[in-house]
């Protein structure tokens, strides 16, 4: 059967942190500010709370079904046929997220670094790197994340410290002027992106200490949510809610304003490095999860042969699914959250309840 791949708790944390960072540096914070205005940072705090609650369920299921990810335990709980129908939705969701995320990254590269290069070329080169990484296995991706993750965190912290003098507190006030609904619906919106960390369920069975699953997720989500929250707060504090909400990427605009002694400038390069690096790592993890999930659904001996076709499928989806940036943003804002809520919360809660009702439990690993 599958060759056992092992990751450490530390790698687990940084892989999840990369997932959150990857969309933080893209267009998502702008959409959140557009929706929740000055209260965007509060939405992130609320989403962090909901996500931690959700993580308890995922961690519990990981411990109840030792050595199994959600694709496997959906088959254990619901049986061979219905379990496969439910289980396949997780890998398909990961494939969709991978194609959307990669499209977002290539749009950023296309707009800011390579405006003359066709987007397809950017996508192809990105996917070649991703296919290579996934083919090498999750351990290689985990080691890369372990090195890059702290660099992203330090870079983001330094960027935020550098822009503190530009933040005007009166632009952040008053809070909750539009009532609580924008904060709540904004928290659901951002939760669907933070919720991509349901990847933890794929990592728990391969972690050397599965009991640390919740702790790893808690640390990663807390760090990630703090970054998104600070970014939202600073974007509003620097540009004002209306202007920040209409920007494509407020984080990138913030980094452009950094100037140390009028000689050290153009920090947007750091931002783009974080965006591309974290994005590639995240899409690699997602393609790995899709390949592994599909292999387990079909009952293959290894997931490795599926990697190249899966990457090709993601490339095709990235190319054909959106005609332009507006369509991608509309999908991310109006359709994606509903799909994500269904998969991240609905399906998992359904599996959790069914496991309790049917009294299903995984066999202990000796």
């Amino acid at each position: 059967m599958f060759k056992k791949e092992i990751i450490s708790t530390n790698q687990f944390v940084w892989m999840l942190f990369s997932v959150i960072t990857s969309f933080t540096v893209l267009q998502i914070p702008a959409l959140l500010i557009f929706h929740a205005g000055r209260d965007a940072w509060l939405s992130v705090v609320l989403a962090w709370f909901f996500d931690v609650l959700l993580a308890i369920v995922y961690a519990y299921m990981g411990m109840r079904f030792p050595g199994q990810n959600f694709v496997q335990y959906s088959i254990t709980i619901l049986g061979k046929y219905f379990g496969r129908v439910v289980g396949i939705m997780f890998p398909l969701f990961f494939l969709m997220v991978a194609s959307i995320l990669m499209r977002g990254i290539s749009m950023l590269i296309n707009n800011k670094i390579l405006p003359q290069t066709p987007m397809l070329v950017v996508l192809c080169f990105g996917y070649i790197v991703i296919a290579y990484a996934v083919k090498k296995g999750i351990e290689v991706i985990a080691r890369a994340c372990e090195i890059l993750g702290p660099i992203y965190l330090i870079s983001l912290v330094l960027i935020f410290i550098s822009v503190i003098p530009l933040v005007k507190l009166n632009r952040i006030k008053p809070q909750l002027m539009e009532g609580f609904y924008p904060v709540f619906s904004g928290s659901i919106f951002i939760l669907t992106f933070i919720g991509i960390c349901i990847m933890m369920s794929m990592y728990i069975p391969i972690c050397n200490r599965p009991q640390n699953g919740f702790l790893a997720k808690f640390i990663a989500v807390s760090l990630g949510a703090a970054m998104v929250s600070i970014l939202a707060l600073f974007s509003v504090g620097i540009f004002g809610a209306e202007q920040a909400g209409n920007m494509i990427n407020p984080g990138l605009e913030i980094t452009r304003m950094i100037s140390i002694g009028n000689s050290i400038e153009h920090f947007e390069v750091v931002w783009l490095i974080i965006a591309i690096g974290a994005g590639i790592m995240t899409v690699s993890s997602l393609i790995w999860a899709f390949s592994l999930g599909i292999s387990q659904i079909i009952g293959l001996r290894t997931y490795k042969p599926v990697v190249y076709p899966a990457t090709l499928l993601a490339l095709v989806l990235s190319t054909i699914s959106f005609d332009g940036g507006v369509e991608l943003i509309n999908f991310s804002f109006y359709a994606f959250p509903l799909i994500a809520i269904f998969v991240e919360t609905g399906l998992e809660m359904f599996l959790f309840i069914m496991a309790l009702v049917l009294k299903k439990r995984g066999s202990k690993i000796v």
Binding site: T302, Y308, P309, L312, L313, L317, T319, S321, A335
Partner: protein
């Protein structure tokens, strides 16, 4: 785009297919082939102007999403 995709698909099928064929891993070979066929099918569907799965999801869910995430 379609011709390039078919060319890349053939290369992937050869790279992955030959070792699987030699090891008689038929299920793996079938999965690889099916995924590649789906990729080509989606490209053809898009070329013909037929909505792709993500277009369908967007059309189905956007009205509800607009109601929930309406701008204040």
């Amino acid at each position: 785009m379609l011709l390039a995709l078919i060319f890349v698909s053939m290369i992937i099928e050869l790279i992955e297919g030959i070792p699987l064929f030699k090891k008689k891993m038929w299920r793996e070979l079938a999965t690889v082939t099916v995924l590649i066929v789906i990729a080509i099918f989606l490209e053809i569907v898009n070329t013909l102007g037929i909505p792709t799965p993500i277009h369908i999801l967007k059309d189905l869910l956007s009205p509800l999403g607009k109601a929930i995430f309406k701008h204040p």
